[in-house]
Symmetry: C2
Subunit: 409 residues, 2 copies
């Protein structure tokens, strides 16, 4: 991607996770990676635990993690080195943000990671997760660790006990991040408090608002395109047409759906365009129009049919076909522009604890959906979002569960 | 303003500054107020020190601030009550964000402030500034306090000594914010570290990225419109015209200016439109086009002259004249839309330590300039930004110094 100011001087960044086991490091690393990939950056998680599982086998007893067991120490060090080497190789080959997911719980280990990364020309940001709330820890262990290959076919209570012994091994040697010259973010008790130290660079400053608004409260998010509009029927792009009778019927079907769901605190967002507001009007609930949810701006081709663009502007049509993500309609927008203007919407969606229904447009729903489905920016223009279909998402620790409701045929 | 999702459910917020004297509370409160007013919110600082100066006279000796001096304590408490009462009255009358600027250095004082505000239906966010770096403190005292009416006509060294005695009075009783159920942000050593605790609500989540990127490093920012374009000559709005010969001459004049300035590390931003890129091309430096810097979208009137809009769409013309801030061109943008999409640009401008030149458009430069000139959103559409003029801004603790260079007649 050519550098734009939205992606300025893409200096390579390594985000080094820090924390005892079961502190949500992998959750945070995956969320960050998902967010960065959604923005169109090359981001990738390198999980040292996976190297261990792949190379040494999953089921190691807790004393493998005992810092006084020289064989375990050497084996784990070798895995850490292999993952770091692979990450730096990937960054040299064009990667932008590597996420190094391991406990990194001692200053000596962090100094080695940092010096190695900086010597390879990468900046380093530590992201430490700290949590001493036993309820949160127990929940994390049962939600994520017991599903890990490390404990396949192991009795759950026995697995929890083993995992707590593993944590205790690390606790003895744990040194919180307080390196005075380092850049770091500390997440305390799953977001209750956030500490940010010596942040420099554009990308780190963009990551913090995202981290700050993450939470684990259960909730649902619904995404839908507006009901059928007059322009949909004519196959025209853009415009500001109203709904057809069928489009209004979809609005009524949405109302029936949400009346059955019993969500009195539902938050409804629309774009500022007629077709989304007319769809929302059928719900009989208050809704807020939001400009960043407007459809991709087709610029000079607003109001044209795709056939007209193909026949009368074949070069533009071909250029768009060749790179639908970066192609910007003359005087209009690219998908990448849309992703960027949706950034505050996405952060607000993450922040919301109430259930949210977003009624928007094809390119916009594709863009938002991509984040929840863990699709990179490259995939966004290909995602299939049919009309008359309500997408229900339930965010989980790793990814989101999805149900599609076809409300009218 | 009607609520939009960008200004959702405008629950009233009180930002309560906390910190010893000379910790930058007033600086931070004013910056925040400026930022919020720029976004179109009703924000206002209530500075308890000003109540004291206005009602009791400026020049009180340090022992007025001695917590064991009952007369001083009672007088200062009365000033704190008067400012809080005025602030809550202003919020009831339609204010959105009150900034309560005082030391608020004890838990008892903060409990009283918080309970009073919450009883009046306002949320409370504490913003504490902590600094123990003697060099920063000395700089702050000399930069701001010695210019205060408290020390008019006082010998500087004597004033510094008196002010340090005043700080010592507060230090004895100072209790850092650690109220477990409160929302707070702690700024440590002028931004080296930031701590964020139990942030809830949309507005607090928007404030943190701004606070996180503030810094006191000296630097200059230049704002300019592009050189004259073919559309400027024809008095047409919007479009994507190139420069006239005169427009290119302005680009060359900019080059001469910056060659003389000796700013090898100058960062140059343009919009994605031809006229700004063609202006920047004359500089012979690299520059980055940024979509949020594009001119306000005139929607269906793109390419029209103002005379044509007035004659052929008199109702739109009148509606725009009546409220130029909120008027949204059909299928286009309002000034308020432009302010919102410029938010990441502004935060990136604050974050930059290098000198920055922004080459953009009338509505965009008006919007950015308004922030530095401490103009509210309401003023933005009236600001005069002539062509062929380079605006040089030097951010200071309170506001910015400004020079206008008319580079070609």
């Amino acid at each position: 991607m050519p550098p734009t100011l939205d992606h300025p001087a893409s200096d390579r960044l390594v985000i080094v996770m820090v924390g005892l086991p079961a502190r949500g490091k992998t959750y945070t690393a995956r969320k960050l990676s998902r967010y960065l990939r959604w923005q169109g950056r090359a981001a990738r998680v390198f999980n040292v635990g996976n190297y261990r599982r792949e190379r040494l086998g999953a089921q190691q007893p807790a004393d493998f993690f005992d810092p006084t067991n020289p064989e375990g120490v050497a084996a784990r060090r070798a895995m850490a080195e292999a993952a770091l080497k692979d990450m730096l190789g990937w960054l040299q080959a064009g990667g932008e943000v590597g996420l190094y997911d391991a406990t990194n719980s001692t200053k000596a280990r962090r100094r080695w990671v940092r010096e190695t990364c900086e010597a390879a020309g990468c900046r380093v940001l530590f992201v430490e997760s700290v949590c001493d709330d036993p309820a949160v820890l127990d929940h994390t262990i049962r939600e994520t660790k017991l599903r890990s290959p490390d404990y396949r076919d192991v009795d759950p209570d026995q697995a929890v006990a083993d995992f707590k012994r593993r944590i205790a091994m690390y606790e003895r040697a744990y040194e919180p991040v307080d390196e005075p010259d380092a850049s770091w973010v500390r997440i305390i008790d799953a977001g209750r408090q956030l500490q940010v130290h010596r942040l420099t660079g554009y990308l780190p400053s963009r990551i913090v608002p995202f981290l700050m608004n993450l939470h684990l409260s259960p909730r649902r998010i619904w995404l839908t395109r507006h009901g059928e509009s007059l322009f949909n029927v004519q196959d025209r792009i853009g415009g500001n047409a109203g709904l057809t009778a069928r489009g209004r019927a979809y609005g009524r079907a949405l109302k029936q759906f949400f009346d059955r769901q019993n969500v009195p605190d539902l938050v409804v967002w629309t774009s500022t365009l007629r077709r989304t507001r007319e769809t929302a009007a059928e719900l009989g609930r208050s809704f807020r129009p939001w400009k960043p949810l407007d459809e991709i701006d087709a610029g000079v081709y607003d109001g044209w049919t795709y056939a007209e663009v193909r026949d009368q502007a074949p070069e533009e049509f071909a250029e768009r076909g060749a790179d639908k993500l970066r192609y910007r309609y003359p005087r209009g927008e690219s998908y990448l522009d849309v992703l960027q203007r949706l950034d505050p919407v996405l952060i607000e969606l993450e922040r919301q604890r109430r259930p949210v229904l977003v009624i928007a447009h094809n390119a916009v729903i594709r863009s938002l959906y991509a984040y929840f489905a863990d699709e990179s920016a490259e995939q966004v223009p290909q995602i299939d979002i049919p009309l008359n279909t309500l997408i229900e998402l339930t965010p989980r620790a790793y990814g989101s569960a999805e149900t599609r409701h076809t409300l009218i045929p």
